[in-house]
């Protein structure tokens, strides 16, 4: 799946996008976790080869660190924005053997390959203050993306919107990222 193929229709109340440009956890060594794919048949090799990305963005994090970054953001928005609804996290990749942090397994978090159907349904039901975290962070050569992350607040109520803007800063939610851009609808 290419990074650009996941596009959410509609406009969030407020959103912020930033890019990972360096290893985000200074001083922390990362233990090896990537494995060979057990291929033997040349048709299997051809299929995997067709996934190759060129030119790629560098891989700056491990699969576990990708989860850790997402958990940090989920915890931050949950702690700083009162009345928050469901947090929907776009999660793609091949890291099925890496344990998820507890924050991402909470009842108030939905992990999905495609946020659109869930988000559309919840908006249609009149739910408010829904957070959608879309991320294209590369954690393995197989994982496409441009190392960006977007956190969007949908159907925001007034206090939640201000709280989001207060936390969506280079020192706050995006302290491990660079090139922050915040967009406010209207």
């Amino acid at each position: 799946m290419k990074a650009a193929s996941v596009v959410i229709a509609g406009t969030p109340s407020v959103s912020a996008r930033a890019k990972l440009r360096a290893m985000p956890f200074p001083g922390v060594a990362v233990k090896a976790c990537l494995r060979r794919v057990p291929l033997a048949d040349d048709r299997e090799f051809a299929q995997i080869a067709s996934m190759e990305i060129s030119p790629p963005e560098p891989v700056l994090i491990s699969p576990g660190q990708r989860y850790e970054l997402l958990a940090e953001i989920v915890d931050s928005v949950r702690a700083r924005i009162d009345g928050l609804g469901l947090v929907i996290v776009l999660l793609t990749g091949s890291e099925f053997l890496i344990p998820l942090p507890a924050s991402l397994l909470s009842d108030s978090v939905a992990l999905t390959h495609d946020p659109q159907p869930l988000l559309s349904r919840m908006l249609a039901e009149g739910q408010s203050n829904l957070v959608c975290i879309s991320q294209w962070l590369r954690s393995d050569g197989f994982v496409p993306g441009d190392n960006t992350i977007e956190v969007a607040l949908w159907a925001a109520t007034s206090p939640a919107r201000e709280a989001f803007l207060a936390v969506a800063t280079p020192e706050g939610l995006f302290r491990r990222f660079e090139s922050l851009e915040v967009r406010v609808d209207g």
């Binding site: 290893m23 956890f25 200074p26 001083g27 922390v28 060594a29 990362v30 233990k31 090896a32 976790c33 990537l34 494995r35 060979r36 794919v37 057990p38 291929l39 033997a40 040349d42 048709r43 090799f45 051809a46 995997i48 080869a49 996934m51 190759e52 990305i53 060129s54 030119p55 790629p56 963005e57 560098p58 891989v59 700056l60 491990s62 393995d140 050569g141 197989f142």
Partner: protein
């Protein structure tokens, strides 16, 4: 590579710690020194986590020598792939072609195998041939002779055999072996210049790319190698074809350290010994496995507690097995249980261990922050 006590305490020893930024830095420095592209030898460091963090810079390609190495890399990077082994068989050849890799044929048998396949990929992309470096240079030294590649006569015949099947030879590979650059680098460039017209005449077309190997030593940046003379020797070739080199230890060695922790100390007749949690089973290349002395490695010691005083007596650093050869370094000064020893320049070829003695665990592998 600096390592503080705080950084070391995060690690489960014995382990290797690798720095992607040093790989990228040394690759770029080597490209500049050689004045050509550099194909990365994956065998020098087959750590996938390190590969994925560096491969965006491996734009000249990566050399792979087995199905396992192809497995590790395919799908993870679109950089050019070269499959090159004297043990190429049909399974690896088919897999390589499926991955759109360039196949480097090492022998007349491999030429027959490729020519007999009738594979469209071979006709579209062509193949490379490997030339035997000692034969090419006319060297009679036994230390220069190896079993890789073909002599020029065999290669000329191969070019014709392949051409008859519609397969073009697009490149040549010559590699004289580890640490051969200072002695044979210029000789290979000149010998290849002399042989190239014959090989091109055999195929009736120019050969587009030449990989001159390298044999650049791990510590090349401190050896004052004469790259200027070498680049001058390349000029007749570079006006004719694209030149690349291949490197493993030259770009990975400085990027990795082996780290082991002292689990016991003792004294036999005044000879001090530090027993560590890693040794021959995790870092075979550090061990004294031959009767003649290997180069003595003096690791850095990182003390974990205030030192109680100096000790000028020599200190032997031994590993965690009961193998007499499990002696991995020498040091001086005080030492205590829980101290770390950090062996630098272990980033290339060190993670392989032929020893599974005592069923000891392999070293952990880490990416440094």
């Amino acid at each position: 590579m600096t390592t503080t006590p705080e950084q070391l305490e995060q690690l489960e020893t014995p382990c290797y710690l690798f720095r992607p930024d040093i790989v990228l830095e040394d690759l770029e420095a080597l490209r500049a020194a050689l004045g050509t592209g550099v194909v990365v030898s994956f065998k020098a460091n087959p750590f996938i986590d390190l590969f994925v963090r560096c491969c965006h810079a491996f734009t000249d390609g990566v050399e792979l020598a087995s199905l396992g190495e192809l497995n590790a890399v395919v799908g993870r990077s679109a950089v050019p792939k070269f499959v090159n082994t004297p043990a190429l068989d049909k399974q690896l050849l088919m897999a390589a072609l499926a991955c759109r890799a360039t196949v480097v044929l090492d022998s007349a048998d491999q030429v027959e195998l490729a020519a007999g396949l009738g594979h469209a990929g071979l006709k579209q992309r062509g193949v490379w041939l490997r030339l035997n470096a000692a034969s090419l240079c006319g060297s009679e030294r036994s230390s220069d002779r190896d079993h890789f590649g073909m002599d020029v006569d065999t290669a000329c015949a191969a070019v014709r055999t392949l051409a008859d099947k519609g397969i073009v030879v697009t490149g040549l590979h010559v590699h004289a072996g580890s640490n051969s650059f200072a002695r044979l680098g210029v000789a290979i460039a000149r010998a290849l210049s002399a042989a190239l017209p014959r090989l091109e005449a055999a195929g009736g077309r120019p050969i587009e790319c030449l990989n001159l190997g390298g044999g650049i030593p791990a510590n090349w940046q401190s050896l004052n190698l004469d790259f200027e003379t070498y680049r001058a020797a390349l000029r007749p070739l570079s006006g004719h074809a694209t030149i690349v080199h291949e490197a493993g230890r030259a770009i990975f060695a400085r990027a990795g350290s082996f780290i082991t922790r002292v689990v016991a100390t003792k004294d036999i007749d005044g000879h001090r010994i530090a027993v560590c949690d890693g040794g021959i089973s995790q870092a075979f290349l550090l061990a004294r496995t031959e009767q003649f002395p290997r180069r003595k490695l003096a690791p850095r010691r990182v003390a974990m507690a205030p030192e109680s005083g100096e000790d000028a007596r020599p200190l032997q650093i031994v590993g965690n097995s009961c193998n007499r050869a499990d002696v991995i370094g020498d040091a001086e000064g005080a030492v205590a249980v829980r101290d770390y020893f950090v062996f630098d320049y272990c980033g290339a070829y060190h993670t392989y261990s032929p020893v599974k003695f005592l069923s000891l665990e392999q070293a952990n592998l880490y990416i440094a922050p």
